[in-house]
Structure formats: C-alpha cells, structure tokens
C-alpha cells in the first residue's frame, strides 16, 4: 500500500490549488516545519485538515491546523481517509498563515522515518486561459 501511494502521488501531483487564492491566506515567505503528533486527519471538503500537537524545546505543546488539498484530490493522489492515524508522528512542511494563527498550508507530509506520504501542493500553476498565473 505504501509503495502504491508513492507511485500514484507522482501521477497526480497535487499542485492544484483552486478553491481559494493561496496568497490571500498564506505567506510563501514564512516556511514552517512542524514535527508532532497527529490528533486527527479531518476528511472534509473543500480542504482536508491535519490537526496536530507540536511540542517545542521547553516542552510546551501547541496545536496546529494544516490545510491539505480536497479529499478528492488526495484520493486521486493515492491518499485514503485512514492514511494517517491518530498518534502518528508526522513532519509537515508548509507555509504559515498571514494572520498569525497556528495555521499552515501543508506542502509535504512525512512520517517520522522520513517517508514522504503526500505532496500537498499549494499555490501557483493556476494559469487560467489567457490569464496571468494566480500568485
């Protein structure tokens, strides 16, 4: 199953980001790397969410919400609603929200052993017909 995921992710690389403009909500210049424990993979439209707890050096625990693509895009990339389970140790790389909340757009999600489970994709490449790229 894990291998099948890795293959299909390449087929439907989810650089897709319709639904809403990336730049209106997230800042590509504020990269974040969040290491922590999965509370829930919330499987809802228009975006699935990773809810996780991140512990900093002093032991303080912060809750973060990480936006993924839609469940449909995730499924076509090989994900299933049970691809991550509560308690999984994960590493999310992405961009932080502009409004300063503990919210990020996930670009990649890895398991603690480094296995990349998802190419979350984000902004850009939304070139409409005859239009400049939305970025």
């Amino acid at each position: 199953m894990r291998f099948s995921l890795a293959v299909t992710v390449l087929i439907f690389a989810a650089r897709a980001f319709a639904h809403h403009s990336f730049t209106a909500e997230f800042d590509a210049k504020k990269p974040v790397e969040l290491k922590g424990t999965l509370l829930e993979l919330e499987w809802v439209n228009p975006h699935a969410w990773i809810h996780m707890e991140v512990k900093d050096g002093s032991g303080k625990v912060t809750k973060w919400d990480c936006e993924l693509g839609s469940p449909n895009l995730l499924m076509r990339s090989g994900w299933r609603r049970d691809s991550l389970k509560k308690g999984d140790l994960i590493i999310v790389n992405g961009s932080a929200a502009k409004d300063g909340s503990n919210l990020a757009n996930a670009k990649t999600v890895r398991l603690a052993d480094g296995t990349r489970v998802f190419n979350a994709g984000s902004s850009g490449d939304t070139g409409a017909p005859g239009a400049p790229v939305q970025q």
Binding site: M1, S4, V7, T8, L10, I11, F12, A13, A14, R15, A16, F17, A18, H19, H20, S21, T23, A24, E25, E42, V44, N45, P46, H47, E67, S70, N72, L73, M75, R76, R80, A97, K98, D99, S101, L103, D125, T126, G127, A128, P129, G130, A131, P132, Q134
Partner: protein, 259 residues
C-alpha cells in the same frame, strides 16, 4: 519491473473502499498492455458527430509539467478592458483575489468552472449535452434541441444558460444569462457584466484529447471580443466522478489578502 506490470500491480492494490476511483471503463479502445489507447480515433455518436463523452481534465492539472495548451498555441495576450473593469481587475490582483466567491464555496460560473483541477464529465442525451463538474458537484445543461438563447434573462444564474450546435466537427456552445454573483470569469480574476456571452468551441482531437477554445464577448467590459488561448484536455479513463460538497469551509476567516 516493467511499467505494465507496475500498473497492474498498483491496480490490484486499489482498496475496495475507494468507490469507483479505479473502475475499468467499458468499451474504450485499449493497448495490448490494457491501458486506454488515448491516441485511438475520435469516437462518433449515432448521428455521425464526434462523441465528446467521458471524463476530462485540463492538461495544466494533469501529470506534472504538462502545458495547458496544445502545441504551437500562440502566447496569451491580455484583454483590453474598459477603465471600470481594469480598476476592478487591478484591485483583485493587488489583494490576492481574497474575495473570490469560489473561496466561499459558490459556483465558479462559465467558463471558469471548466478551468479547475477537477474532472468534468460530458454526456450526450437526445436534445441536450450535459456537463457534470466534480468541483462543487455543479452541472450544466447545453440544449441541442434547436432552441435559441432568450433575448432577456429574467433569472440570471450561476452557470448561465447554454445552447449548442455542431459546426463540422466542432461543438459550439453559447452561454449567457450568468448572474453578477459570479465575480470572475477565470482564475486570474477578470470581471464581467450582464452583457457577457461566452462561446466555447469543443473539438475532440483523438480518443484521449480534446481542445476547447473560449471567446469572451462582453461589450460592457472588454473593448472587443477576447479569444482565449485554446485549452487542451486529456481524458481520464478507468475512473469516475467523486462527490464534492463544500461542507466545512474555514478559509475565509483567515483570508487577509496581500498584507
């Protein structure tokens, strides 16, 4: 491992819980390795016109790196807008298109709905051609029973009113009556008025590929009709549409624009 074997193996691993995400499409041309033959000839309807049926996805959203247009498509030229429209467009660009109704789960309208990263299914039935949009589970009925578009629209709608006819091998669809809650006709944020008329020319190139050329005719917004570059779509075999209901949308409260 050969690619064919790999494909078979992945297929065999498709979990049963994925509904019809990976269900073989019946009656389509296939290669010896079992994959759909996307370069087979254009299928025909009973009346001899090309059959546009199938699931289609814009090439810009397909396998990474594909360009959105067929080869040799001329570069896009920006449309010339009247001052009010240019002002609206510039404001939208400046604030990151944060107020796009699509981000509030509202329908995208025409032609924008056909430019998104989700499949669109085309079905022909007597008297109409139906387009089913996976994103937000929208649909359009394109009437082919000879009716004409109304002169006035007493009830403008999100996806407008469409009629279609064949010109040779091209299916030409004219759409008007799109409401003013549809805010942008494309992902870039171009505006429109109640005078908007959209013409889409569908041409199936071969079994697996289709081109759509869109002309925007909106004499209150653009100084002259704007012909968009042809968009290339590739067929998605062995899969079906998935439901997409915008059930929990928490983005708008975080959309601050270009701060």
């Amino acid at each position: 491992m050969s690619k064919a074997l790999l494909a078979l193996w992945c297929f065999a691993l498709a979990p049963a819980g994925a509904q019809w995400l990976d269900y073989p499409t019946k009656g389509i041309p296939r290669l010896p390795n079992g994959k759909a033959n996307l370069n087979a000839p254009v299928p025909k309807q009973a009346d001899g016109h090309p059959d546009l049926s199938g699931l289609w996805l814009g090439d810009q959203w397909g396998p990474a790196g594909k360009r959105p247009n067929p080869p040799n498509t001329p570069r896009a030229t920006p449309p010339e807008m009247f001052p009010w429209a240019q002002k609206v467009f510039d404001e939208r660009r400046a604030n990151g298109i944060k107020d796009d109704p699509e981000a509030r789960c509202m329908p995208q309208g025409v032609p924008k709905a056909t430019t998104l990263p989700y499949p669109v299914e085309i079905l022909h039935v007597p008297g109409k051609t139906v387009m089913l949009y996976e994103m937000y589970s929208l649909r359009r009925e394109i009437f082919t029973d000879g009716r004409e578009l109304p002169k006035e629209f007493i009830n403008p709608s999100w996806m407008g009113y469409s009629v279609g006819k064949w010109e040779g091998d091209e299916f030409v669809v004219t759409t008007a009556g799109i409401n003013d809650q549809v805010w942008n006709i494309d992902l870039a944020g171009h505006p429109h008025s109640d005078a908007l008329k959209v013409t889409e020319r569908f041409r199936r190139v071969d079994f697996g590929h289709m081109d759509i050329q869109v002309t925007i005719d909106d004499p209150k917004t653009y100084t002259k009709p704007w012909v968009m570059p042809v968009m290339r779509y590739t067929m998605l075999p062995d899969t079906d549409l998935l439901e997409f209901v915008c059930e929990k949308n928490i983005d708008p409260q975080h959309m601050v624009g270009n701060k």
